[in-house]
């Protein structure tokens, strides 16, 4: 895989508090890489350091395919977390301005703008003044603005915040399509469920420190153990007595059993006591969301802090 961006040993302090400790990762061509973490974990700070809006105290940001120390602004698309649009201008004018700033040919930009407006269900809005758009529409226009110049690397800071589920799906589909066409995508989010299904690799950050870094499926295999949900009247003690069960959560007749990482499903299922009251049963892997909550609360997984091979 060809790396487009590499971040090495990034450190940053505000006043006396260190907000980034030794952050390192890379983003490759055609992949979706996610920076995940709770609010205040350092996601936006990391991205701002990449975009040259802040400067790191230590460490390096390397754009491959680009010589020199400057940021290849024309090849990078950026959708910041704090985003807005000039109020009293037309949608097309602002999109063309963004394209012009990136030195992208205007006739091509116009064509692309119209295509994307159509894709985002904003057909015919190109001459509408930004003021008259709803918040969601505005966000779509901002997204178009960040990709209007066909960037090699697209950096999206919380792209889904404030979107309704329908628009979220449109954004997801579009981001995936861009990645399939070879764009390297770095996105940050605290909405795990959205990211879980679309990202190839992830970088979990908490309090400015790397917690997990690796391929999505490896992370799931490593951290996302099986959990078994049983609906029926059962004693907690009986359930806890089942081998390879680490934890049991019970809410009325619903019990969730967390299994040890070493557990293999067929063996474990055949060992279930025959007298258990089972109305319904389902087995699933722990979701990214649960890993995230565990990490954020500093529970078990955090203790097993580790790095997977990112390649």
């Amino acid at each position: 895989m060809e790396s487009v961006l590499t971040v090495q040993n990034l450190q940053k302090s505000f006043k006396d508090t260190q907000v980034l400790h030794d952050i390192s990762f890379s983003v490759q061509k055609g992949e979706i890489m996610a920076i995940l973490g709770p609010n205040g974990a350092g996601k936006s700070t990391t991205i701002r350091n990449i975009m040259g809006i802040m400067y790191p105290d230590e460490g390096e940001v390397i754009f491959h395919n680009h010589n020199g120390n400057t940021i290849p602004r024309h090849k990078v698309g950026y959708l910041p977390e704090e985003r807005g649009l000039y109020k009293n201008v037309k949608v097309m004018d602002i999109l063309l301005y963004f394209a012009e700033l990136k030195d992208y040919p205007l006739d091509k930009a116009k064509e692309r703008a119209l295509t994307y407006l159509k894709k985002f269900d904003l057909e015919g809005k190109e001459n509408v003044v930004v003021d008259e758009l709803s918040k969601g529409m505005g966000q779509k226009v901002q997204f178009i603005g960040s990709i209007i110049h066909e960037p090699e690397l697209l950096i999206l800071d919380e792209p889904f915040s404030g979107l309704d589920p329908l628009s979220q799906d449109v954004f997801k589909r579009e981001i995936r399509e861009l990645a399939e066409n070879g764009t390297a995508i770095l996105l940050s989010s605290h909405q795990m469920n959205l990211v879980e299904e679309m990202c190839d690799r992830l970088f979990l950050i908490n309090k400015g420190q790397q917690v997990i870094y690796g391929k999505m499926k490896d992370v799931k295999a490593e951290y996302a153990n099986f959990k078994c949900m049983i609906y029926g009247e059962n004693d907690v003690q009986t359930l806890e007595a089942i081998p390879e069960v680490t934890r049991v959560e019970q809410d009325g007749d619903t019990s969730v059993l967390y299994l040890e990482p070493s557990a293999t499903l067929p063996d474990w299922l055949s060992n279930i006591p025959k007298d258990l009251d089972v109305q319904e049963i389902s087995v699933d892997r722990i979701s990214l969301h649960e890993i995230f909550v565990d990490v954020a609360l500093g529970r078990s997984i955090a203790e097993k802090e580790g790095v997977l091979d990112a390649q």
Binding site: M51, I53, R83, Y86, D93, F98, L101
Partner: protein, 412 residues
């Protein structure tokens, strides 16, 4: 630089397409015209009555023809002269409310007393107008005194004051009794033009402040900064609003020049305007703009909401109006201490220079050059500082910066 121009072009286009800018662009000169013409029209009514002031002259010393020629020469004397045989007492009892009576007799020549009577509705200006008779009457008195030519020349020549420099060996310099220029229009018209340029671009400079503050409020800054550097964005704004200022001046001139040609048709304005002096005045105006523009763009980046600025920011906003304080002393003495101090303070020097150079004939070139040098150095300095403030300030959301914070950014 290319990026700055792109930003500048955008700022220009954005404003030219906005209704409020267009309205103010055309409304301001219209308001100006309104205030320039309407009081004039009203005054003209008064003037008509005045032009009807019939002045009866009882002349027993042969001064009437001289009076007639004065009334013709001095256009502001709207007198209709008429000779009369009425005595002062008769005039007192019979005079019409809009008429006046002047008595010139032996007493006038001997004691220098001119008795006159005015009707109720004759304006107070009549007294001032009477003063114009002083010089000719004096002349007649001198003639009466039977002086020879030499004596007459001596008596009628004004007193001149000559100053000798205190330092040894220096030549004595003859000063004309007044520092004011002989022809007030020669420098005045170009300076007025420069003043208008300065005024309008300082106004657009304030728009920069709004624009920077809005950029923050609308949170576009970070998107734009992913394409250009903060310095390019800042310079672009300064360039864009400079162009807007020039557009505004042009629009004003389209209204003002024909209007002023119409209003004051006896002064060849265009000839006075298109002189080498104009270049210096415009240069001063542009330097003034650059100084305030850099000040405002930095300030705007510290405020999210212009209306909630602290006293600190409000005080900075008032800086362009500082020269107003100095106008009085400068008019009184264009080469005085206040004027000189004003010339060397960058915030006041553009306006003070414009006023002074319009008033005085002998331009103090040394002062002008030092002042321009100070101005240019301060522009450079302020651009640097504004750049520092802008870079940090534009990306701080949700709050206004305090002076302490700004100080910290400046030292960073």
């Amino acid at each position: 630089m290319r990026n700055s121009l792109k930003v500048g072009k955008w700022e220009m286009k954005r404003n030219l397409k906005s209704k409020s800018f267009l309205i103010s662009l055309f409304l301001t000169p219209l308001i100006f015209i309104f205030f320039a013409t309407v009081p004039n029209l009203l005054m003209d009514d008064g003037g008509d009555e005045e032009s009807g002031t019939t002045v009866y002259v009882n002349d027993s010393i042969g001064a009437y023809s001289m009076l007639e020629s004065i009334a013709e020469e001095q256009s502001f004397l709207s007198w209709n002269l008429e000779e009369t045989d009425q005595s002062l007492n008769e005039a007192q009892s019979t005079i019409d409310s809009e008429d006046a009576f002047i008595q010139l007799n032996e007493e006038t020549l001997q004691n220098g007393v001119v008795s006159y009577v005015t009707g109720d509705e004759v304006s107070n200006q009549f007294m001032t107008q009477l003063q114009t008779l002083e010089q000719p009457i004096k002349q007649m008195q001198i003639q009466q005194a039977d002086l020879n030519e030499e004596q007459m020349a001596l008596v009628s020549s004004p007193i001149q004051f000559q100053v000798a420099e205190a330092s040894a060996g220096s030549e004595s310099v003859e000063m004309s009794s007044s520092p004011f220029a002989e022809d007030p229009f020669e420098n005045g018209v170009p300076a007025l033009f420069g003043g208008i340029v300065l005024f309008s671009i300082v106004i657009t400079g304030m728009m920069i402040f709004q624009s920077a503050s809005q950029e923050k409020k609308e949170k576009v800054a970070e998107i734009v900064l992913s394409s250009v550097t903060p310095n390019e964005l800042m310079q672009g704004k300064i360039i864009g609003y400079f162009a807007l200022g020039l557009i505004q001046v042009t629009a004003w001139m389209v209204f003002i020049i024909p209007l002023s040609l119409y209003l004051v048709d006896d002064i060849p304005i265009m000839e006075y305007l298109l002189t080498p002096q104009l270049l210096l005045f415009v240069l001063i105006a542009i330097l003034g703009y650059l100084l305030f523009a850099s000040l405002f763009v930095g300030l705007g980046a510290t405020l999210e909401d212009a209306s909630s600025g602290s006293n600190f920011q409000g005080m900075v906003m008032m800086l362009p109006f500082l020269p107003v304080v100095l106008i009085g002393p400068i008019l009184a003495d264009p080469n005085g201490l206040a004027a000189q101090i004003g010339t060397f303070i960058p915030f006041t020097s553009p306006a003070v220079l414009l006023i002074r150079l319009a008033l005085i004939d002998q331009w103090p070139w040394v002062e002008i050059i030092i002042s321009l040098a100070i101005l240019i150095v301060s522009i450079w300095l302020f651009m640097k500082l504004a750049g520092k403030i802008f870079k940090v300030g534009i990306l701080i959301y949700g709050k206004n910066a305090t002076p302490q914070e700004i100080w910290k950014w400046l030292r960073a």
